[in-house]
């Protein structure tokens, strides 16, 4: 792997290697000194064209725990807002000597452009592009699910996939990069995915995706779900006729208290409730659900740092330098994402 741009073309082998490496990185977080020297002297730029404090600080923490030098480049309020092009920004970062660029962009495909052009030679990590993909979010979700699934089966996480796990993802699939990245990755890892959404918030062509599609959350829960992921409803959708009102949305597609109780009634005692954050409490998820023991919301945040450490580590150390001081396996270049 030279870049991490999407999960669509991420092989099972590479996905599992990232997750296994993340397990080892997670162990670092449990130490008194949460730091490895793996990326000492390497420069990681967090290039954010869109505000996302949560994702940015997660990548920042990950890079710093690997001893990389971190530059945060918020494109808002910078030369970019004065009209500088992505090309000029990329070439500037190349001239500064960036080894990796973590890019968050409002435009779908912007990370692909950075990776495909000769503007910059650095490793590119997609930290969310438009309504396209958010691969590290999907990897941290899969990491969270894998720990849960392995624990239930009484086996080790390392090397495991998600075969047989039933995952439902509910909400605004149309505009969700998290949903897209999850659908592809969970397919690759063997999980059975069901998307649940109002028809207005499903893309044309979703019937070709490797998952089931439902308009009915209760029916989906009734069929049995091991992980229930709720997607954030963006404010700008609320007045664009995607659904009549937030209350109707909440009643039909929100994970409310009644549905939380229904999990018990259905005998789904081990079902976890996931949310990529930030949550709209009372809209797509009730406060009781968000705070219940089933909720993995904070575990997802914690695991995000481990997964991002793994991604940075695997992209930045490997064929050009020895990786003797840290865990992980040799990387291969047979796949480019």
């Amino acid at each position: 792997m030279k870049h991490l741009l999407s999960t669509e073309n991420l092989s099972a082998e590479n996905a599992i290697r990232i997750l296994d490496t993340a397990e080892e990185m997670a162990a670092v977080g449990d130490r008194e000194v949460k730091k490895l020297p793996a990326l000492r002297g390497r420069t990681v730029v967090n290039l954010f064209f869109e505000d996302s404090t949560r994702t940015r600080i997660s990548f920042e923490a990950a890079a710093k725990r690997l001893s990389a030098d971190v530059i945060n480049f918020a494109a808002k309020g910078s030369s970019v807002s004065k009209g500088e092009s992505l090309k000029d920004t990329a070439q500037t970062l190349a001239a500064i000597g960036a080894d990796a660029v973590v890019i968050r962009h409002w435009a779908s495909g912007a990370p692909h452009r950075l990776a495909a052009t000769d503007w910059i030679d650095a490793a590119v990590i997609n930290a969310g592009d438009g309504t396209h993909e958010h691969p590290t979010q999907a990897l941290l979700d899969a990491f969270t699910m894998r720990r849960h699934w392995s624990k239930l089966k009484g086996s080790a996480s390392n090397g495991a996939d998600l075969s047989g796990m039933r995952v439902a993802i509910a909400g605004d699939v149309l505009h969700s990069r998290v949903a897209r990245s999850n659908v592809w990755l969970l397919r690759t890892l063997g999980a059975e995915v069901t998307l649940v959404a109002p028809p207005t918030l499903l893309p044309i062509g979703v019937e070709h995706w490797p998952c089931k599609v439902s308009y009915d959350l209760d029916e989906t829960l009734g069929a049995g779900v091991d992980a229930m992921m709720m997607l954030r409803v963006q404010g700008e959708r609320m007045n664009a006729s995607f659904f009549p009102s937030t209350r109707e949305y909440s009643r039909r597609w929100g994970f409310d208290d009644a549905r939380l109780r229904a999990l018990d009634d259905l005998g789904l005692k081990d079902t976890i409730i996931m949310h990529p954050g930030p949550m709209n409490r009372g809209l797509e998820i009730s406060a009781a659900a968000a705070d219940s023991p089933r909720s993995t919301v904070l575990a997802q945040v914690r695991n995000g740092v481990s997964v991002r450490m793994a991604a940075l580590y695997l992209l930045l150390s490997g064929d050009t330098r020895e990786a003797a001081t840290t865990p992980g396996t040799a990387r291969s270049d047979k796949e480019s994402n």
Binding site: E8, S85, L86, K87, H105, W106, A107, S108, G109, A110, H112, R113, A116, T117, D129, G130, T131, H132, E133, R177, R180, P203, I204, G205, V206, H208, W209
Partner: protein, 449 residues
């Protein structure tokens, strides 16, 4: 007429419209003779064995960018590209800056075309003032101007107000004009980035549904029927659009339709690269649409090929997809792409090619002296094509200033060997020769074209 006398050229053994080999004698701007074994004292002889002779191509849909965006293209560079591509006339779209919505602007473009001398430049007039879709531009003034505008279009923007569209269709009847509609329902395409379908779903790019094009075409053919007017539909891109135009023609509605070379060859699968060279309006569609467009062009449902040549400066394409400008260059690749998609597939002959690239577009635009038969006495707007040639597209070797060719790196068949414009070779040996020069016509006044 104030044209200069041009030289004498004897084209030997060209397959006329792809048929039998004959000679063409070009003298004083006309085809003087057509036959076998012709000879002429002092004529420049062009051995054309293996070449196909066709009427000069007429583009019904070109963006020359001047006035206003001379960093993207000028009338001079765009018409050089046109001549190299086998064109002897182009229709310059109205979305310049200032917009071609007054007699003054269309006359300026017309004069620039005459000063360049590579092809006939026929300005297209805007339907509405400033392309704003609110009030009719002075269509009659443009029709009566030296530019003699007959095609009116807000291309790039749909005349979506049904009342305004109705009025425009009716009004242009006064001077035998035609409204060329860019069919795109604006509310259904707000923020749209690419064809809406399985690819857009995966790429997370806002979709541009086929229905946004088809619903406007359906409305417009019914309006044209109701008011008895002539309608031209720019760049149809979907299978459904072809069906609607076919239905309209069966009912006797006076509608013509155009397809671009890129919509005959490329699909939205290319957008997976996120390379904005593939960003265009209307967007690249699916393979099923491509096949329907080819069939429609072959059976006459679609009347003409129009390039929608849309050069852009590189910085408008070297960016994020959503930031990039829409459009592709096309003048220098159109012939080859149509040969590849329509002739090499057996769907059309070279005679059909002449119909869809010359005869009918000239008729739609009411362009005198263009799209004429290759017969004695006719104006010598003639091209010679080597159908056996193969070449690899390199945008940096083109005459257009635009480097945004979606065919870059692709090998295509067919090459324009010579272009005769008003009897003068603007292209010889596949290279630019010299422009045609009008006699004593510094202001572009007087003659018509």
């Amino acid at each position: 007429m104030t044209e200069t006398a041009t030289g004498t050229y004897l084209i030997r053994g060209a397959a006329i419209l792809g048929g039998d080999a004959e000679d063409l004698l070009i003298r004083d701007g006309l085809i003087a003779e057509r036959g076998t074994g012709l000879s002429a004292e002092g004529a420049t002889v062009i051995e054309a064995a293996g070449l196909v002779a066709l009427p000069g191509m007429v583009d019904i849909h070109t963006h020359l960018r001047e006035p206003g965006r001379e960093d993207a293209e000028t009338v001079e560079t765009g018409t050089r590209a046109a001549a190299l591509g086998g064109y002897t006339a182009v229709h310059a779209m109205a979305n310049s800056n200032p917009v071609a919505d007054t007699a003054g602007v269309v006359e300026q473009v017309h004069s620039l075309g005459r000063a360049s001398g590579w092809v006939d430049v026929r300005p297209v007039g805007a339907v509405t003032v400033g392309l704003a879709g609110e009030q009719l531009a002075e269509l009659g003034a443009m029709a009566d101007s030296r530019a003699q505008v007959r095609v009116f279009s807000d291309d790039g923007i749909c005349v979506h107000d049904p009342v305004l569209m109705r009025r425009a269709l009716e009004y242009v009847k006064a001077f035998d004009g035609v409204v060329a509609q860019h069919a795109q329902e604006p509310r259904l395409t707000a923020g749209a980035q690419m064809n809406e379908g399985t690819v857009s779903a995966v790429l997370g790019l806002a979709g541009w549904p086929a229905v946004a094009e088809e619903s406007i075409i359906a409305r417009d053919v019914l309006l044209a029927q109701h008011v008895g007017s002539r309608l031209h539909v720019c760049h149809v891109s979907t299978a459904g659009s072809v069906e609607i135009v076919r239905w309209a023609k069966e009912r006797g509605i006076n509608v013509t339709a155009e397809v671009t070379p890129h919509h005959l060859l490329l699909t939205d699968e290319l957008v997976r690269s996120y390379d904005p060279v593939y960003k265009v309006n209307p967007p690249l569609r699916t393979d099923a649409d491509v096949q329907a467009l080819r069939a429609g062009l072959a059976d006459g449902t679609i009347d003409v090929v129009g390039t929608d040549h849309a050069p852009h400066p590189s910085e408008h394409k070297e960016c994020e997809w959503a930031q990039a400008a829409m459009g592709m260059t096309g003048l220098e690749t159109a012939l080859s792409v149509v040969q590849e998609t329509m002739i090499e597939t057996g769907l059309m002959t070279w005679a059909d090619f002449a119909r869809v690239t010359s005869t009918v577009p000239a008729a739609i635009g009411r362009v005198a002296d263009q799209g004429r038969p290759l017969e004695a006495g006719e104006p010598a707007n003639v091209i010679l094509v080597d159908p056996a040639a193969r070449w690899t597209v390199d945008p940096y070797k083109m005459a257009t200033m635009g480097r945004n060719s979606p065919f870059a790196g692709k090998e295509l068949p067919g090459a324009v060997v010579a272009t005769f414009f008003r009897g003068h070779p603007t292209v010889l040996g596949g290279k630019l020769n010299t422009p045609y020069r009008y006699a004593a016509d510094p202001a572009g006044a007087g003659s018509s074209n």
